[in-house]
């Protein structure tokens, strides 16, 4: 299992998909934030986080994701998640992330619905 997080990005028309591979902890969260804020500077206002490669998130990682969500809300942007493990999805619901960032089961439906 990969522990150190790696991030890749797929830029599409008006939407950027961020793929994570590994542990979303302090380091992993900061990496996601760095990429996300750069995408915002590039003008992307709709971001989708595909967490298919992530099995584990800790509270530090969650707090950083919350900050990213707050930033998106400030600029009237949208952030969504897809491909979460059941454990992570449950955690996001309890921690309130799902209230502000919708969770989709797969990337295709996420891409179709997040722009709506």
């Amino acid at each position: 299992m990969t522990e150190t997080l790696s991030v890749t990005v797929d830029r599409r028309d008006g939407l950027a998909v961020i793929y994570t591979e590994g542990y979303i902890n302090n380091q992993g969260g900061e990496e996601i934030a760095k990429v996300a804020y750069k995408l915002l500077e590039e003008g992307y206002k709709v971001l989708l986080l595909n967490l298919a490669g992530t099995k584990i998130v800790n509270s530090i990682g969650i707090s950083i994701l919350i900050e990213i969500i707050e930033k998106m809300l400030e600029i009237d942007g949208k952030l969504g998640f897809c491909c979460l493990t059941p454990t992570i999805e449950k955690t996001f619901h309890i921690m309130g992330l799902a209230q502000y960032a919708p969770i989709y089961s797969d990337e295709a439906s996420a891409v179709a619905q997040i722009r709506a």
């Binding site: 299992m1 522990e3 099995k55 584990i56 998130v57 800790n58 919350i66 454990t87 955690t91």
Partner: protein, 533 residues
């Protein structure tokens, strides 16, 4: 803030401010508006409101350029600073307010007071948010324990459970690393690891490890090399310790630090779940193994029953019977009674060393080999020598077989026999005297080049032959006295006139009475043959 605008160089648009105050989404705009008014009031180029997080100032709102997002409270050189409870107002250029003017500004300037009140509000909101976060995360922890408990109860896949338990423990404790060890052969074996490396094996009797688990000392250096802060707990069930759960380097936004007392409690809860999972899996494996063994024993027992003769061949002028009772479900004794070419009768009684399945498997090998050899060779030393070599080559070095092998010609009553280390057969003559069919060679399976002797005697009318295994003569009483050959001979003399079908039941019954209720310690076999009068 309702109503009248205060006098001053800048006249705030109070209606605008009131509207922003009432709009829940307008909080940031309200702060920025107030900062802008303050900046213009005091002639600053930039102004920002900062919350103090344990000595680090993080910007909540700002107007103008050049103000950092984050700055250490002790490093605000180059910026003007007004202290508020819970934070600061930073501004540039620093000369905007003379130092002695700063206190007066804080005391009397309505805009400054409003900003101070706003910062307090931000602080309270932040604290509330953090507390809510902590409460929610406790729920996540409880849900995790519940989910793991459900998984433990519903699956015996130890691999999946081990991974689940370790990942949950690492994430909930905000650890960077973790390891799960299982106790095996008196040592702890690394079963699962997350992040970095860990020692593959740990000595279970290491006093340093014990002290670490009790929270009394640092971890052994080999445990999670490179980790600065470790926490470990034992995985224990009622019957003893089963393993260890260890995590390393608790994270915060500022780096790594030591684990808290509450973390030990949380980790122990996960260790308890791991213990249940391990115990369930062990018991299940044990039950499966027991079931498998029972199936195998049953099968072996069936095979043995098939090997044993269904009945004695009919021999004109002779009465012949065999009897066998294993000490366990399967045994190492063997007998066979079978017709041989030329109208003769083959008799075999054998005793494989050991008990249970291994001995039973060897009996099966012996049976096949013996029948084959009897088909191809004449009765004599060569037959036994061939059998011996086969046994030596095909069995474990510590296995041997004692055997009394005989072939009888019913037309003449002549019995040829070979005794390979077996108990001497008893020939009770019609006049009460006894001849013994003694040993003429080593047990089979000991030496590949062993030699054997064939001897002969003649059964006269009324003579009774008894071939047996040592489970009969070595059966012990409560006082550890063996039944012995003497008692067997006396018993044969006493009961010689009984039909053989009865005699073959009476002998073990009397032996059992001698054992005074003790369980049968060894397999017991009898072959009886009597020449009719």
């Amino acid at each position: 803030m309702a109503g009248t605008a205060p006098a001053g160089p800048v006249q705030p648009a109070w209606d605008e401010l009131l509207a922003l105050f009432r709009d829940e989404a307008g909080e940031r705009q309200l702060l920025e508006r107030l900062l802008d008014l303050w900046r213009r009031e005091h002639g600053a180029k930039a102004a920002g409101l900062y919350l103090d997080h344990s000595g680090t100032l993080e910007r909540e709102a700002a107007v103008g350029d050049g103000l950092p997002h984050v700055v250490e409270a002790g490093s605000t050189d180059g910026l003007g600073s007004l202290r508020f409870p819970g934070g600061r107002l930073l501004f540039s250029p620093p000369g905007t307010l003379a130092p002695q003017a700063a206190d007066r500004a804080a005391a009397s300037d309505p805009l400054t007071l409003l900003l101070a009140a706003s910062l307090k509000s931000c602080r309270l909101k932040q604290e509330l948010k953090e507390q809510q976060f902590q409460v929610n995360y406790r729920v996540v922890e409880l849900e995790a324990l519940y989910d793991v408990g459900l998984a433990v109860a519903s699956t015996l896949d130890l691999d999946r459970l081990s991974e689940e338990i370790l990942l949950r423990a690492v994430s909930l404790l905000d650890a960077r690393r973790g390891a799960l060890y299982l106790l095996e052969d008196g040592r702890y074996r690394l079963d699962r690891i997350f992040g970095g490396e860990a020692a593959d094996w740990l000595a279970a009797d290491d006093p340093g490890l014990h002290a670490f688990l009790a929270g009394a000392s640092e971890a052994p250096a080999s445990l999670l090399p490179g980790a600065r802060y470790l926490l470990g707990v034992p995985i224990e069930v009622e019957s003893g310790r089963r393993g260890l759960l260890v995590v390393g380097d608790k994270e915060s936004r500022r780096g790594v630090g030591p684990f808290l007392t509450s973390d030990r409690r949380t980790l122990s809860l996960f260790a308890n779940q791991a213990a249940l999972a391990l115990e369930n899996a062990r018991l299940h494996l044990q039950a499966l193994e027991k079931e498998r063994l029972e199936r195998e024993m049953h099968l072996a027992s069936e095979i043995q029953r098939q090997i044993l003769p269904k009945g004695a061949p009919s021999v004109p002028g002779f009465d012949l019977v065999g009897w066998y009772r294993p000490a366990r479900q399967v045994g190492g004794d063997y007998y066979d009674l079978f017709p041989v070419r030329g109208g003769r009768i083959g008799l075999v009684v054998g005793d494989v060393s050991g008990k249970g399945m291994p001995a039973a498997l060897m009996v099966s090998t012996l049976h096949s080999a013996l029948r084959l050899l009897f088909d191809h060779l004449e009765f004599g030393p060569l037959l036994l020598e061939r059998l011996n070599r086969h046994i030596v080559e095909s069995s474990a070095s510590n296995k041997f077989i004692t055997m009394l092998l005989a072939e009888m010609d019913p037309r003449t009553g002549v019995l040829h026999y070979m005794n390979a280390g077996h108990n001497p057969g008893i020939l009770l003559r019609h006049d009460g005297s006894v001849d013994q069919l003694g040993a003429g060679g080593l047990p089979l399976g000991l030496m590949p080049a062993a030699r054997f002797q064939s001897r002969a005697l003649t059964l006269e009318p009324g003579d009774l032959l008894c071939i047996y295994t040592d489970g009969i003569t070595e059966a012990e009483s409560q006082d550890e006295e063996e039944f012995g050959m003497g008692r067997l001979i006396d018993l044969l003399r006493r009961e010689r006139h009984r039909p053989l079908q009865e005699l073959v039941e009476v002998i073990p019954q009397i032996v059992g009475e001698h054992s005074q209720g003790l369980p049968q310690g060894d397999d017991q076999t009898l072959v009886l043959m009597r020449r009719d009068l």
